[in-house]
């Protein structure tokens, strides 16, 4: 149960699910979304210089 809740939370934060899990519902929802965007943008900015081809592009 705990693992599936955790999975659902990650899926929501990653954009896969539309409905916020109970853990994030309410006032935390927007804050969590902002943190995810910020974190993602920071990580992309930090690591984007080493970009290589997607493996499945040549298929």
């Amino acid at each position: 149960m705990m693992i599936s809740n955790f999975q659902a939370t990650l899926e929501y934060l990653g954009g896969e699910r539309d409905d916020a899990p109970r853990l994030l519902a309410g006032r935390f929802e927007w804050a969590a979304r902002c943190v995810v965007w910020l974190l993602a943008i920071l990580l992309i900015y930090a690591f984007c210089g080493q970009s290589s081809k997607f493996i499945y592009i040549d298929f």
């Binding site: 990653g14 954009g15 993602a40 990580l43 493996i55 499945y56």
Partner: protein, 389 residues
């Protein structure tokens, strides 16, 4: 590159997604057709020059032939054969002709061979449409709708592999929720890019060592780490790619099929394949496994079908003996799992047994990646070094 370039987002995705929402419903498919064609020409030219860009004609030819498809019609068979023949010529010509001249120069070698952008994926969509039209499982749609289906650029190059009967209602529906769709879509794209840049590309420093020169001198424990890194890399890379494709489609208000559902950590190899590259697994079941008789034939035939499907899956992933061995490995694992289930009945639900089966599945799947990421002699060298030192 494609999804990790600015050109994709600012020349194609953003303008197409905005235009798609502001034009009249009648013009929406043609927005996708226009941008899909430009997308194909732009990136195919970058990868394979003029001939690569000219492969846009394959889409146009296929769409014209598709207008002849009717339920039970022979034209559908023509469509199926032509899609497979095209894939065979572009992807497998040098491989199969080379098999006849193993110890000599191949006189039939196509020197200027190239792979049209996304051919392995769009072939499956052509094939699916022809097959389902023949079976009467899908309506024809208009020319614009069919072209929009095959030229829908977020999924054109590497899936997820769509189905026309799922795509059509989404194309026709009014995209209403701008803010919701864009927020979810952009979040998904950011997630995909993060997986690609911060996980997959970072692991390249380890996976680049999976070559004969480095394997010979490496410590055994390091070999295991390199292979494990490849297992994580290919998951982050392809699931990241799928995230971007699905998120991009969402900007149009179109939901396309999911491709991954936490595949690592599944209890057995069958569950793994139900959660790894889901759209491919479903395609193989519907268009290869079931037509071969599926599970409604004799027991030996069932096992033969399973192995045949995975061999085809392996060959589809690449024209090389290593991919055939990779497919065979997964075929044998699936057949072994089915046999085990027949002999032992329902799986043990004790937590220790569950943990062990998850760990075993993870190890077996990762062991197979050696044949995916290295050619056959190098993969054999890898295992020789791992087992015998």
């Amino acid at each position: 590159m494609i999804f990790n370039t600015f050109s994709y987002y600012f020349l194609f995705l953003a303008p197409a997604a905005v235009l798609f929402r502001v034009v009249s419903p009648r013009l929406r498919p043609w927005v996708i057709v226009l941008f899909g064609s430009l997308f194909f020409i732009f990136f195919a030219y970058g990868m394979a020059g003029l001939w690569g860009a000219a492969c846009l004609l394959i889409f146009l030819w296929e769409s014209l032939v598709s207008r002849l498809y009717r339920p039970t019609s022979r034209w559908c068979l023509v469509g199926i054969v032509q899609s497979v023949v095209l894939l065979g010529i572009f992807k497998y010509w040098n491989f199969f002709t080379g098999l006849f001249f193993l110890h000599a120069a191949n006189p039939f070698r196509w020197q200027g061979a190239f792979l049209p952008l996304g051919i392995s994926f769009f072939t499956f969509e052509f094939y699916h449409y022809a097959w389902d039209r023949r079976a009467g499982r899908t309506e024809a749609g208009t020319l614009g709708e069919y072209l929009a289906f095959i030229l829908f650029f977020p999924t054109m190059v590497a899936g997820p592999i769509k189905r026309y009967q799922d795509f059509l209602p989404k194309l026709r529906q009014e995209p209403t929720e701008w803010s919701g769709d864009w927020e979810r879509g952009i979040t998904r794209i950011l997630t995909g890019l993060t997986k690609k840049f911060a996980v997959a590309d970072l692991l390249t420093a380890w996976t680049d060592h999976l070559n004969a020169r480095d394997i010979v001198v490496a410590d055994k424990r390091v070999l295991v780490m390199w292979l494990l890194a490849y297992g994580i890399k290919i998951y982050a890379d392809f699931s990241g790619y799928s995230d971007i494709a699905i998120g991009s489609a969402r900007l149009f208000g179109i939901k396309v099929p999911e491709n991954f559902d936490w595949p690592y950590g599944r209890r057995n190899i069958q569950r793994f394949w139900q959660c790894w590259h889901i759209s491919l697994t479903r395609w193989l079941i519907d268009y290869v496994y079931i037509p071969l008789g599926g599970s409604r034939v004799s027991t030996p035939r069932i096992y033969a079908n399973i192995i045949a499907v995975m061999l085809i899956s392996g060959l589809w992933h690449g024209a090389g003996l290593n991919f055939i061995v990779w497919g065979l490995w997964h075929g044998l694992l699936l057949a072994g799992h089915r046999l085990w289930r027949q002999l032992r009945g329902e799986p043990n639900t004790h937590p220790v047994a569950v943990f062990c089966s998850r760990a075993l599945t993870f190890v077996l799947v990762n062991a197979g990646w050696a044949f995916f990421c290295m050619n056959l002699p190098t993969a054999m060298l890898f295992y020789r070094r791992l087992v015998f030192g």
